[in-house]
Amino acid sequence: MDAIKIDNLAYHYEDQAPLFKNFNLTIQAGDWVALVGHNGSGKSTLAKLILGLLERDDGKITVYDLPLTEENLGKAREKMGMVFQNPDNQFVGATVADDVAFGLENQQVPSQDMPAKIEAALKTVGMAAFADREPHYLSGGQKQRVALASVLALQPKIIILDEATAMLDPQGRAAVLQTLKDLKKAYGDQLTLIMITHDMDEASLADRVVVLDDGKLVLDGTPAEVFEAGDQKLKDLGLGLPFSVQVSQALKVQPPHYLNQQELLQWLLTLNK
């Protein structure tokens, strides 16, 4: 099953050269995809096109077999949720619970059903104890987890995270990433995660890494494939490599293939024996 299918997408910003031209990308349901690229590579634009926040010039986007058209927009969006970069600019409610409620109110969920749904969503991200707090008293990482809960309450099949950890401190970021891992574990194939980032360590958490450059797909594959085969290309694009790859390359005796941080640690430990 395809979660998202993009055919021949074309898009340009006003007064600028075309960003996307004959762009194709298919994302399988249940995948965890990292969309990476430097600033201006079109990754955030792509997310906005998928959500219909921007109007494409040409091409076709389908979300779970539902073509994204003006009539279908509302229905298609019900299947998707998005967490944006700035934690403050997506907090609509006055308190944590109000914010989670906002989406439910839009979907006209009956008032008496809301508290249970809000609590469940906040529990999933570990923020239930903060339900009555104002955003002002939360850290960036906590706000992003609330944003995630707001999205989860609407039970989307696809969650897009647009640089959701870029403005967070290391702890906040670790907490958000851990929440994502837990979610993926809990929902499995029922949840498709699309993570836009330019952090390669974050990207290495995904099952599939897609590298964009000026609206073109330059690398696409598992983290192993992308980081092994494409290391020169990634460097050329100014994207860098995940920490584990950097360490591996600096070693005298190098591991036979790509290892993530955990695997690399295991491998190094076996060398000692």
Binding site: L53, M82, N86, V92, A94, L104, N106, D132, L154
Partner: protein
């Protein structure tokens, strides 16, 4: 940042917190309206007593309200100066050119200060004890009948709640921008009024740009979460009058009746 009290909600468990937001809005409205009808110290004493009762029932420290008044001190002083120097009448206590201080001017100034402080404190109680969304929901409910004459009540209520939600954020941002510019040698507190006014411009530009960016981001976030029509939404916070509201109504009724009698008697 914590200095700003006006317009800010502070969680608490006082009796006032348990009131329906509609009750609080109506009482605030009645109170403010009542104050307009008097120019005598006796009703003001009665109104002050009522306010003190309300403040006590919020269970918030009085120091908090005092710090809430501080930012508008200048506004009060400005109004007092206008009242003192530009109220005609006799006897004239002092005059210099077109400036004259008259007894009615001084008396008026005192009443203006009292009225100002009472009104500000009462509305601070409203915003301090009621989450912005509840105020918005309450206004939507109170102004509901206007929907019939095509006033976009739901949209306005949502706009209001979002505006209130962004007040502390924008104040924070103002502080940040000011600090950033101070750190590069800008002074907001020295020089004449023209120089000071000029210093504000480089602060306002980034503030506006930032606010617009926030607005665009927020619009996207709202749209993605399924916002389409403010009229086709359910509400998380359901308003319901409880026995506290009836108690409040009774107390307010006593206040209004006594106040009216005092005004009739003393003017």
């Amino acid at each position: 940042m914590n200095k700003i009290v006006i317009g800010r909600y502070l969680p608490g468990d006082g009796w006032v917190y348990r009131l329906d937001p509609r009750t609080k809005i109506l009482i605030t409205f009645i109170y403010v309206l009542a104050l307009v009808f008097t120019n005598n110290w006796v009703p003001y004493v009665w109104a002050t007593a009522f306010l003190i009762l309300v403040l006590a029932l919020t269970k918030q420290p009085l120091a908090l309200y005092w710090s809430g008044l501080k930012p508008i001190l200048w506004l009060i002083i400005f109004t007092v100066v206008l009242q003192i120097f530009f109220t005609p009448g006799s006897p004239v206590l002092w005059h210099w050119g077109f400036l004259r201080v008259t007894t009615p001017g001084v008396v008026n100034a005192v009443y203006v200060v009292i009225r100002f402080v009472l009104i500000i404190l009462m509305s601070t109680v409203l915003t301090l004890t009621t989450p912005p969304t509840s105020i918005a929901t309450a206004l939507e409910s109170l102004l509901g009948p206007l929907k019939k004459v095509r006033v976009p009540v739901a949209e306005l209520a949502l706009m209001l709640s979002i505006a209130l939600r962004f007040v502390p954020l924008l104040l924070d941002e103002t502080q940040k921008i000011m600090n950033a510019q101070k750190s590069r040698g800008m002074s907001f507190s020295s020089g004449g009024p023209i120089k000071r006014a000029k210093a504000v411009i480089p602060m306002l530009v980034p503030l506006f740009v930032g606010a617009l960016q926030r607005a665009l981001d927020l619009a996207n976030a709202m749209e993605v979460r399924g916002f389409q029509d403010a009229n086709q939404r359910t509400h998380y916070r359901v308003l319901k009058y409880g026995h506290e509201d009836y108690q409040a109504a009774a107390v307010t009724a006593v206040f209004v009746v006594v106040f009216a009698l005092l005004v009739l008697h003393f003017g």
